[in-house]
Amino acid sequence: MANYTLRINGELRQVDADPDTPMLWVLRDHINLVGTKFGCGVGQCGACTIHLGDVAVRSCSVPVSSVGDQQVTTIEGLSSDGSHPLQQAWIEHDVPQCGYCQAGQIMNAAALLKQNPDPSDSDIEQGMNGNICRCGTYVRIRAAIKTAAETSR
């Protein structure tokens, strides 16, 4: 066990955890932020996507000991009230089916739009290829990202 001070969604949080504990479980079990989802645990599905700084990472594959003082953003911190253009676009396009993958999709899309505010269709497909949606909402995910890119401009 070790003690870590983490910067999560703009707040300082103290956690006692083994150094190898993935951020996914630190968020879900220790800090009670359950919006970040467990899908595979091996960096293959994207359900657990969070931001370290401006970069999207798979929190299941990021040990708490490697985070240091980087700013961590989770779906709960993307906006305080669901007003992020992607969240709005997701509602407009009524994207979710079961909804389980969608927080990860949105977090991945948010990092994508930061890097590339005007993505082409193939930029979107490629940028989102690491996030699985078992319900198959890909067509809507792409459309919602387009809409968010337009409304953010």
Binding site: V34, G39, W90, I124, G130, R134
Partner: protein
Amino acid sequence: MLAGGGFMLGFNWQAGATAVGLNEVPEDFYAINAFLKIAKDGTVTIMSPNPEIGQNVKTSMPMIVAEELDVSWDQVKVKQAGLDTEKYTRQLAGGSQSIRLGWKSLRMAGATARRMLIQAAANRWGTPVSELSTENGRIMHARTGRSVSYGDVAEDASALQIPEEVLLKDPADFKIIGTSRKNVDGSHIVQGKPLFGLDYKKEGMLTAMIVHPPAFGMKLKSIDDAAVRAMPGISDVVIINAKPEGFSGTWSDTNAFPELVAVVGETTWQVLKAKRALEIEWETTSPLENSEDHEKGMQEHIDAGEGAKDRVDGDTAAAFSSAAKIVESTYTAPLVPHNTMEPMNFFADVTAEKAELVGPIQTPENLRTTVSNLLGLPQDKVSVALTRMGGGFGRRLYGNFGVEAALISKAVQAPVKVVYTREDDMTQGTYRPAYKVKYRAALDEDNTLIAFEVKGTGIHGSPVFSNRYPAGTVDNYLAENLRMDSNISTGAWRAPRSNFIAGAEQAFLDEVAEAAGKDPIEFRLELFRRAMSNPVGDENDYDPARYAGVLELVRDKSNWGEEMPGVYRGVSAYYCHNSYVAQVVDLVVENNLPRVKKVWCAVDCGIVVNPDAALNQVEGGIVDGIGHAMYGALSFKDGAPEQNNFHSYRLIRNMEAPKEIETFFVDNGIDPTGLGEPSLPPISGALANAFAKATGKRLYTQPFTGIPDFFDIIPASG
């Protein structure tokens, strides 16, 4: 405005037939019946009775209640109901039947409540009920200009008897049904609010993980848990058995591994590490199977097996011997796991007096039955609350994870949440069976279909529906079925059997049409015309006119027959879950890979309750069907699945999904039928047919990308 034009229905509604007494009603919130409560301020809370797995019934079922109640959708709040068999019937998510079977009772729930509210207003004003009308949650008396809100009369209404007869709306007057309403959980989903089983927490709750045998055919021999018990955060290691001697469960108890080791502790990571450190010896109790054995066994069935002749029309042997042309092909698909995005999990808090269960399950009633039997608790001491589910696809019909939670909680005397890893989830069983089917068709000199034979087999059963199309369209028809035993557990997987047989049948019909030198749509329509004018047999379980209807619709919408350079088209149509679907796939080649540019889809599922959400279901089924046909395969070596997570098991991803899907619903006013499954089965056929157009090669074995020369036969992209 609602008046006249509707119809009366006798009201024999067993569930929820008594009004809730006033003294049981919370202050300011009046329960009118089991489905709804109305607050003084007019807010309506509608209970959604059925499990939500992503099929969106949590939105669409309350829409139906709200329609007949005659309120505006903005006034409505939706709550998920827990299991309550006294109030609700068929609280199950399966077979795409929630809307179809709930349609009448949900309408009745809204209509009877509306009627009671009107009665309360009539009593207050001393006016006859017949002079009152409603709109957007208000009751109006046109003659005197008086009006009152539902909230104002809700208390009075809740004390009235539920009427025995009630007027339902004329569908022409629907204001909510048939309009698109957003997912009621949408804003919570996009903000990551706790909704799912895995998100559930309770004070003092421990985390449990299971270890099941590494192969089908093995069981626990011995365990050394000394080191694990000493690991930080670990409170217990227990062995549970969900099928003790003499226990016979429900069909939901399909489970290859009833005896398990469970590790219990504080945090998920601590328990996961302990689980990995356990030293367990397993022993083999039945043969360890290989995928090659399955393939060989199924092929032997097809070549030499004598199956049950479940439908025989005419004499196929005679017809084949006089045929001008014979077409025959065999289609195969492997075992596949469900892979719901949210792995299996469940919460249980079991004490000597009661069991409280919370989590994602498609069959809460069966779970209650099994837990009550196993724990020796009366049914009314076992509660099952439903969370939103991160996917179902049939996997959550089999509630072993819920039973495990209950047994573990009992063993450790603490509330526990059982959490499966992806590896547990993918290797634990209850898969879509492996299937093989052989078709034979005979054409005469005029290229008319004169005989059709289908022979199917699969693990634990054949995929063939003996009375489905093309049965009924051809004089000589034979359906023959075999089953293969296995110690690998299989079960329902989105559109059971149809998920394979539709694609096989529709790919085969394409070959037959080609042999007959006919347009594939026209060839199918010819058969439907035969079934309409002069059907063979009287047990055909489809309506040929509605079937032909979707084919014609997709033909017209897609401009079928139009030549588009570089675009290869395939068509398919299928009937299942009481609904009809026809699809056209436009395939292109990009970077030397096939890519679905567009799917055109026509659907006849009767009245569409929530059109945009319905489109979403159809799109999802199409993507799911393409994904599994192209990539899905769980192979076995010595009883063990060779894939256990998404690095080795491939699910369809964003770049592989169709660029565009356009769906058209038939508008016929018929009561709604299934929609969660029907768009999936035919798509693999349309895809294979488009592929054949592009390459001249037919795809007989799923997953298509596993066919040895699949990538060689992709034509070079332009």
